[in-house]
Amino acid sequence: MKNMKFLTTVVLASTLFIGCSKDDAPEPVNEEEVITTLTVTLVPNDGSTTITLQTRDLDGDGPNEPVITTGNFATGVSYSGRIVLLNETVDPAEDITEEVEEESLEHQFFFTTGGDLDITISNENLDSNGDKLGTEFTLLAGAVSTGTLTFTLRHEPTKPNTGLSDAGGETDVFATFNVSVE
């Protein structure tokens, strides 16, 4: 009987122990690494209007599709390009390009054209080992044509490489724009 009493007490005590108060609501997570926005600014060397290509996906991997702004190039014109990556889930927006450039050895932008698009990319800026990084570049618009221009950022690629096919690594940004040369 003594044992029963003891057991009952233990069961009751543990029930009390379990029934504790509600926790406070958690704090929202600051998503530090998300890239929501890629903006490519292309300044022509002939003094005409600057072209801006942008893809913006404010809900990250949420259901909304990225919003894309595109532009067209003038034939024979050379453009100085600069890529800016932003995380706009935080306020103020965080500039991810800075991190990419700080860790230049572990990153590289690749440029791919599709369709008939006649565009040449050259003069990519370099990482601290002298291999391509590509956050800055020169774009030369060739003959009149249309097609796609794709920017791919690889994290931890094999460097040096001959292009996307042997770069390996993980894709951090994959942004395609429909453009034309007029």
Binding site: L7, V10, D23, P26, V29, D59, I96, T150, G168
Partner: protein, 798 residues
Amino acid sequence: MRNYALWILLFSSITSMSQNCDHSLSGIVSDNHDGQLLTGVTLIIAGTEQAVQTGLDGTYSFSNLCNDTYYIQVSHPYCLTKGFTVNVSGDTTKSFKLEHHIEELNQITLEGKAYGDKTKTLLESTLNTDELERFSSGSVGDALKSLSGVSSLSTGNTVVKPMINGLHSSRVVIINNGVRMEDQEWGAEHAPNIDINTVSNLTVIKGAGALQYSGDAVGGVIIAEASKVPVKDSLYGKTLMTATSNGRGLSLSSQLTKSDQNGWYSTLQGTLKRFGDFETPDYVLSNTGVFERNASLKVGFNRFDYGFEGYYSIFKNEIGILAASHLGGAEDLIRALESPLPLTINDFSYTIDAPKQDVTHHLATVKGYKKFDDFGTLSLQYDFQRNNRLEYDIRRGDDKEKPSVDLELDTHTVLLDLESSLTDEIDLKFGLMTGYQNNFASDTGVRRLIPDYEKYDLGLYIIADYQLSDQWLLEAGARYEYSYMDVFKFYRTSFWESRNYDQLFPEIVIEDLENQILTNPELSFKNGSGTLGASYAFGESSKLFFNYSIASRAPNASELFSEGLHHSASRIELGDLSFKSEIGHKVSLTFQSDSDTFRFNINPYINTISDFIIIEPVEVQKTLRGTFQVWEYRQTNAQLLGIDVDASYEFAQNYRLNTQFSLVKGKDQTLDAPLIGMPPVNIRNEIVYQNPEFNHIRLSLQSAYHFKQNNYPNNNFEVFMPETKTYKLVDVSTPPDAYHLLNFSSSIDLNINQKSKFTVGFTITNLLDTSYRNYLNRLRYFADDLGRNFLLNLKINY
């Protein structure tokens, strides 16, 4: 104790001298623990030295006794010898109970059952210490795979999740040392957090019939038990070491037990495993190393009628995830699928980099039992578990060293059980369970995959079995479970609205932030489960089991709340807040025949599950990182049909042929399509030579043939390739080809002295160095499975 018995013997020889007598004394001798009848027990009457032995039915009989008081010494090789005083008056019956133990020292194996049945009408498949020791360097999942009907869902070769008859994760309940494991078992890449070296008996029940443990084991129950400690003065232990060529690593495990004949005992145990990158026949699997560290301590007190035990264990495992499997979107997946070699192959290394998992599991329990002569055994247990799961991805900047997932799951449980024999024929088990669980997700700079929640559980069960006749046994049970979940979950506003949750659940919103809202879902589930079964014994050694079980499982946190990119799966996973419990009905039939030379069992089953929760691809979604496949949880009606066969035949003295065959077909009845991820048919044959007279030498050659899975749903999808302006098919469905593996294993005992034994074992897995991929390995898209592996096992018992 023994001296005391001797004194009685000496003393009694004086008292009971010559009289004219013709009475008898008879009765049975049984095991105090489970009532099992003991054969071969020697009973000696002190003084006259008249001795008898119990027969197969545990009975004994003395004749020509007088009306007098006798002192009888009762002894058995595996029990502590006891002395009893008996008053004989006429023809007397008297039954004795002995404390029947496993003799741990020098590995004497017992015929008969040392561990009680978990259910009476479902077949239990068990791995004993000898079999488990062969997997000392592996995991619980590796060992379980050797049983028929058990396969595994794995991530590489180090994260191995057991799968019973085609079901896994939350549908398989794991009981470790009497505690239900709460180690975030919902995830497909979360392996059980148990050190195989703490287990001396591993049992699989392919069904939900074991209601004393849970009512939601739609797939089955796995029970890991530690060895029992004898009540005698002893100090013993063992050390196991395994060195492997593949992974170039070492596993070391040691345990020491001190027991005392007054009932006290303690066991200290520890394991250390370190492996580098594993290798396929052709290349290194980069970043697949393992670093596992475990320790446990047990202190207890064990008597005939009461006992208690305190136990603590820590399990810490750091596991590298194949570097080549870390991907961005579908464009990366296409590259991986098209490449014959993994995209990342580095030189062999012991370093474990991101992506990796680092899991720590603490388990502490205190339990006690007391036997009451009139109503049975009452036991009470409290346990606490803390599971801390860290998952590291390849990150940028300041976050490099920071985990992407940091979840801490605390669970407290109190169990009260009563086991009672109402009559000689009817046994009753009754119990009560209360539990509290708290999940806390730390801020890692990545959205929480599993939200913060608190969960309260209450369970109640009753199981009765009735021995109708020598042949028939009936079993029935019921369990009720109530669970309440109080959750804090952030939803993306875009998701919340796209799912119409703003119309369906406006009342749970507690805060509206800019891009997301904080909600407080409060969910409760009431689940009933039951079992009904019969077993029929016939012939020399045959048995037929029939069992019907109904199991109800509440949806888990992942199924309810997933919302976003699951990095390790490279896909977007979406749960559903409105899910209800899934209910499984399993009918299983088993025929078992168990003679010395031929053992056979065949077990067909049907498992019909309503509101079965599955995850499957529904669409593709564009993000800034590329295209991702969206996998959504859905409830459907499913049916699994299957059969497991085991046979073992001693075709010549010391030679045995073992065969296993498992088949399961899963069907989504709503869509009339095959279920995803069902294990393919497999057949295993093994020839074993074992000679107990020649140092227990054991040689075995095993052939395992895994067929190609031909029943699978087509989940392929297309991705637009901007370079060519065409769509490309991504084949994520087609299972890999069939494969055949040969394994060799051997061991021999070398006795150092009477108290110590040294065992040397040598094993080769994948003897022919076959390249293969396994349908149930989540990394099959990226790399081959393991190549040949040489293992050297050394064991010392002392």
